[in-house]
Subunit: 202 residues, 4 copies
């Protein structure tokens, strides 16, 4: 089972790198093992060149289990998501140009998307004819602050599919790696469309 | 023969995914078998990772033949096209950023393209010096409604090469998979040019 | 020798297709054999999937030599170039979005480029600190007309590196395939920069 | 050791070419051997198709050591960097559309970047919440002039990570090839974001 999980992270890294969404060792990925632990990428690795030896186990406080590897600085956000929703099985944090730029241009704390068929790639959406909201958090280097804000927002309304961090990138998740990849790919497509609509529609 | 047809769909999927035109399990592809049936992609598969086992036979009402797989929701549009024109041998439905955005920005029901040499990639065109029209349908989740509108429009003037669904994407077709791919690639190139003309020409 | 020449065309096709510069069977490529003949791509082939069997010999009037294959419609422009300058050894005709759009937006018959280091990729240029001119011909489906205009312009001032056809694409050439590819790649880079300068510099 | 160094340059070339950052034989790359010499790419090679035979040793004045190959014209800037900072182990000079265009649009001698998480990919940066400056030199064909200006600027304040040459491209470096690649990839991502911010934020 762990082999399948670690392989799914390595594979996701190659694919995400080929899309240009994790340059310069940016990004971090994880997959839940059970109620108390997850595999997560070690700090500083190029995400297109991962091997299973670049992954470590952490508990849901983000602390390494039986490993000398240093977890990514943002591990705390991954494990916060696993703790907030037992149905989350995989988390992908990426840096694309579109997610970086749109999150800076959105002045509010919500990026609204509507009228796109691609919204249906996000689980639970059956129609283009609705408005979905992607939360935008302010960027901070203090991961505990960001994790606390995430919990606070979640308590009011659980987030779905993903959230943005301003000038930083996207966190996307799913019940397994396959769904997390679909949410990531769907959201990046929507961001690319929204960017073009902003450019062309004025 | 079926092996060649199913292979042509699998190959088209890999190529279309590499272009970025079927993200997040979006899109669906088909190839006509005979006057009464076609191979079509099953629902929910990532189109860049298709195998022959992700395809099923349907009749021209879009119903599965000897298969427990669920056809794509939009199968009805594929089979409507096969019923409307016996010369159509393959249909490719894709989601690109350019087709999504241009179809939203076009206020009328026709996207007009003129003055491009690439128009000659669309069968029957011998010159750049003409205007071609790509129909734009309103998006709806009711495929029967969309299929009926398609038939209604077709009765007045048969469509050629492809049509757009607003905020959704492109349907392109041809007498065989090779021509369907050429029409898809030609139309996407024209959309990319038209997007740039809108950006630069003001 | 012919094996090397045909291989150089097939290889160029794969590379050009990977750049997205010959979609939908567009484009045509050739390599000079001697003072009286050249290899040229047959009509209607996808340029990313060429084999040596998709090439034929033509004389410098563009007529097939010992072949039943149909040469590309634009063969006449290739052979006109070989006749105009004995130092031209290879010609690449491509369709990119940037060359299509820039050639439509340029109102005059010359696209001027200056201040780019990349101008040095075009043989004979030793500095960025000059202005180079790429001729823009009006598009026509009559290749004889276009070939005659080319000869007329050339008689006044021989063209260098390449020319544009409006709304159509680029012809680039060199003393051999390697130089033709460098001129093509350099010009496409310059067009991409010029497009961005137009977008950003206003 | 030399085998590892030359391999690291060849590999960097393939990767950089795949990103589109060294078209048309543009760009040049190097890796320090010791306090007095470095491997550098020979002039005129396509950087995506390098072999170890396309590299030569030079001393820190940019003169070939035991080689008949001609070093790249810009070797003097590589060796100037090795002489200025003993911690620099690898230098990558590239030509991207974004670096070419942004360097032309920036009127001052500094491109300022702030508010991007990706700034942390540049060694020594721990936060997005700061402003970093990338020096922009005027382009010249006289490499000695450019090397002298570099030394002059460096004496006042040592440059970090990389610098731009106007209308020309980027020099990026690091303590080894891996860090040089990370700085290159991080800077190119930041340039792509900044370009989009300029387009969208007005």
């Amino acid at each position: 089972m762990s082999d399948l999980l670690t392989h799914s992270i390595v594979e996701a890294g190659r694919w995400i790198d080929a899309q240009g969404w994790c340059p310069a060792t940016g990004g971090n990925f994880s997959a839940r093992i059970d109620n108390a632990s997850a595999w997560v990428t070690a700090s500083g690795r190029h995400k297109g060149e991962l091997t299973p030896y670049d992954l470590l186990k952490v508990n849901l406080k983000g602390q390494p289990i039986d490993s000398v590897l240093k977890p990514s600085a943002e591990t705390l956000l991954h494990t916060a998501l696993y703790a907030l929703d037992e149905n989350i099985g995989a988390v992908l944090h990426t840096h694309s140009v579109a997610s970086t730029v749109l999150s800076r241009l959105e002045a509010s704390d919500s990026l609204l998307l509507s009228g796109y068929e691609m919204q249906k790639s996000l689980s639970g959406n059956q129609t283009h004819n609705t408005t979905i909201s992607i939360h935008v958090f302010e960027n901070t280097q203090d991961m505990q602050v960001l994790a606390d804000q995430l919990k606070e927002v979640w308590t009011v309304t659980p987030l779905q599919w993903g959230f943005l961090v301003r000038g930083h990138g996207l966190y996307a998740w799913g019940r397994d790696m396959s769904e997390a990849r679909r949410h990531l790919e769907g959201l990046e497509f929507l961001f690319a469309c929204e960017r073009d609509m902003m450019l062309l529609n004025r």
